[in-house]
């Protein structure tokens, strides 16, 4: 093994993530100003290493994309998707804490996982407060901070942040980029994710605010619905289903008119109730297409499967499929298997789930173009 190589393995804690229910694996959670994996890239740069090889079992497509986009670091990155963390080489370092420090024992519950992230952020802020350039790096660019606001180090304020009069920020406050702190707020021991809004006269302590959801570590509470003038998110609400797909679904529905849907319904493994029969094949699609038009179900994705069907899969296949997007038409359709009851479908589903979502869209779209209404009324699967 060359000495200028750093091997990292990302922990697979997706089963533990019951509180935050994050869409990204633990290795990509934001700690301070950047995600945990980027802190390790910083470490590699400081050590003068030239190659970083990353192994990940949890949502490998997301990790691969982040690595491809990290062009800032002058190191070569390589990525390998593995089935489970145990498959990584023994020399690889576990990315479960900040670099250069011995990590505490692994978390056992969802709250321990989010508290671990908070503790890591505290350690990062402590380290940053000791830097000689703390004043230069603790506040991002084009911020507007009212002269009457009080900042108590250590803190980190991202780019484009507005802080109103009479605020008390810190100690141990991280405010993500583009946030608005309206005025007379107290924020300490808290993390506000990018584009948060905090209304006037609101105090946050031991909290994490992300896309309008507040986690309170002291009381171990998760608040999903908060009055928008108190706390909310400034993120533009990106619709789950893009308009182009909705229109495409409407056209498909009109073209495939005349097919009948069954009256049965079933519950998918992630708790969604869908019309149709999970054992039946392509006949369900006529019932699902209106859901795409309503924005409730994406057009392209892995086929929805019932809880029983999901549990018959191997544990690492479940892991890959659990976080992938469910859609009306899947890659398996274009390969000729149309129901999760078909064992070949799971192979295609895992293949599709481990790639970025837009990779296979062309193959699926060409399949939908070749569909006729006769295909949907036929009870037997297509040849």
């Amino acid at each position: 093994m060359p000495s200028d190589l750093l091997e990292l393995v990302l922990p697979d804690w997706s089963g533990l993530d019951t509180v935050r229910r994050s869409s990204v694996p633990f290795g990509l959670w934001t700690i301070g100003d950047q995600c945990l994996l980027h802190h390790w890239l910083d470490h590699a740069v400081n050590q003068g290493l030239t190659t970083v090889r990353v192994y990940a079992a949890d949502r490998p497509a997301a990790v691969r994309r982040v690595l491809e986009e990290s062009s800032l670091w002058p190191v070569k990155t390589e990525f390998t998707a593995i089935a489970s963390t145990a498959d990584a080489p023994a020399a690889a370092i576990h990315v479960d804490w900040l670099p250069g420090v011995t990590a505490p024992p692994a978390p056992a519950s969802g709250w321990e996982l989010v508290e671990r992230a908070a503790a890591m952020e505290k350690a990062w802020l402590d380290r940053m407060a000791g830097e000689p350039d703390f004043n230069l790096v603790s506040i991002g660019f084009s911020c507007r901070i009212h002269p009457e606001a009080k900042l108590i180090p250590p803190y980190f304020i991202g780019d484009h942040v507005f802080i109103g009069p009479g605020c008390e920020i810190g100690p141990y406050a991280v405010i993500g980029q583009g946030s608005v702190i309206a005025g007379a707020n107290r924020v300490s021991h808290s993390h506000l994710a990018a584009h948060s809004f905090v209304g006037p006269v609101t105090a946050l302590e031991n909290c994490r605010l992300e896309s309008g959801i507040l986690l309170n570590f002291k009381h171990q509470a998760r608040l999903d619905q908060i009055e928008p003038h108190l706390l909310s998110t400034l993120e533009k609400s990106s619709p789950a289903v893009p308009l182009r797909d909705r229109i495409r679904a409407l056209f498909l529905y009109l073209r495939l008119r005349g097919s009948r849907a069954t009256a049965k319904t079933f519950v998918t493994f992630d708790g969604r109730t869908l019309p149709g029969d999970p054992e039946a094949g392509i006949i369900n699609r006529a019932a699902w297409l209106p859901l795409v038009w309503q924005g409730k179900l994406p057009l392209y994705g892995v086929l929805p499967r019932s809880k029983e069907q999901f549990e018959t899969l191997d544990a690492d296949w479940q892991n890959v499929i659990r976080h992938s997007r469910i859609g009306v038409f899947s890659y398996a359709d274009s390969q000729g298997s149309h129901t999760p009851a078909d064992p070949a479908e799971a192979i295609h589903a895992v293949y599709q789930a481990s790639l970025p979502p837009e990779t296979l869209i062309d193959a699926i779209a060409s399949f939908t173009r070749s569909l006729t209404s006769a295909d949907l009324t036929r009870a037997t699967p297509l040849p």
Partner: protein
């Protein structure tokens, strides 16, 4: 805001208060989003207006320089160098050629002869033997940097921002130095209007961070205005 929290919360139950507060909050968010867009738009607008203006205003200087370089050794006029831009992405930075055509090979020789003297991150030396006669003059007057207005127009660079480093220099950076690569590189920055080449690398990064932190459209204009005398008197450039 001088409101007693108890009084603030006691107003909760009055009719329509919460709706009005939500409306105010939404308005505040919209205004701030608009402000961010305006700040970005102003910077880009200043870049486009400034670079188009400079390209037009300096076109006589361009013509004279092209003629002089062509007359001296008939080599190529422009010189495209890979530099590291915003977010670590590479782009080709344009310059007037001020060195002899095979400058890179000669530099390797020089480095071998001069192994002990070189310890810094950047490679710069006084009385570089590779610089041509015309090159010496256009470097003194900073004319060799003028083609970068074309990079500014293309959006790879900005008028004001940290100078784009060479990939070779970035390979020796520490993680704290990478912070200067997070914004678009520029033609001039605080370092150029201050000591120019007479400051060490850590001080240069500190100046860049200082600029990044306090950047605004007005500050950019101030730096541009201060760059003019620094260029005219040729302070520190060699």
């Amino acid at each position: 805001m001088n409101v007693d929290p108890a009084e603030y919360w006691s107003q909760m139950d009055r009719d329509g208060k919460i709706e009005r507060w939500s409306r105010n909050a939404r308005r505040k968010m919209t205004i701030w989003r608009f402000t961010i867009l305006l700040a970005r738009g102003l910077k880009r607008g200043l870049d486009i207006v400034g670079s188009v203006g400079a390209l037009c205003a300096f076109s006589p200087i361009f013509l004279v320089t092209i003629l002089l370089i062509k007359l001296e050794d008939r080599g190529p006029v422009f010189f495209c160098q890979n530099r590291v831009g915003a977010g670590g992405r590479l782009f080709g930075m344009w310059k007037f050629r001020s060195m002899v055509v095979n400058a890179d090979q000669i530099k390797d020789q020089l480095l071998q002869e001069n192994q002990h003297g070189q310890s810094g991150v950047t490679f710069k030396m006084k009385n570089d033997p590779r610089v041509t006669k015309v090159g010496k003059w256009i470097r003194k007057l900073s004319i060799d940097e003028f083609p970068q207005f074309y990079n500014v127009l293309r959006g790879e660079m900005s008028l004001v921002g940290p100078r784009p480093p060479l990939p070779r220099e970035v390979a020796t950076y520490k993680a704290s130095h990478l912070r200067r690569l997070r914004v678009k590189p520029g033609i001039t920055c605080l370092w150029q209007i201050g000591g120019r080449s007479e400051i060490d690398f850590d001080g240069q990064v500190r100046l860049d961070l200082e600029y990044i932190r306090s950047s605004s459209a007005l500050y950019d204009i101030a730096i541009l205005l201060k760059t003019l005398p620094a260029v005219l008197f040729g302070k520190g450039a060699y």
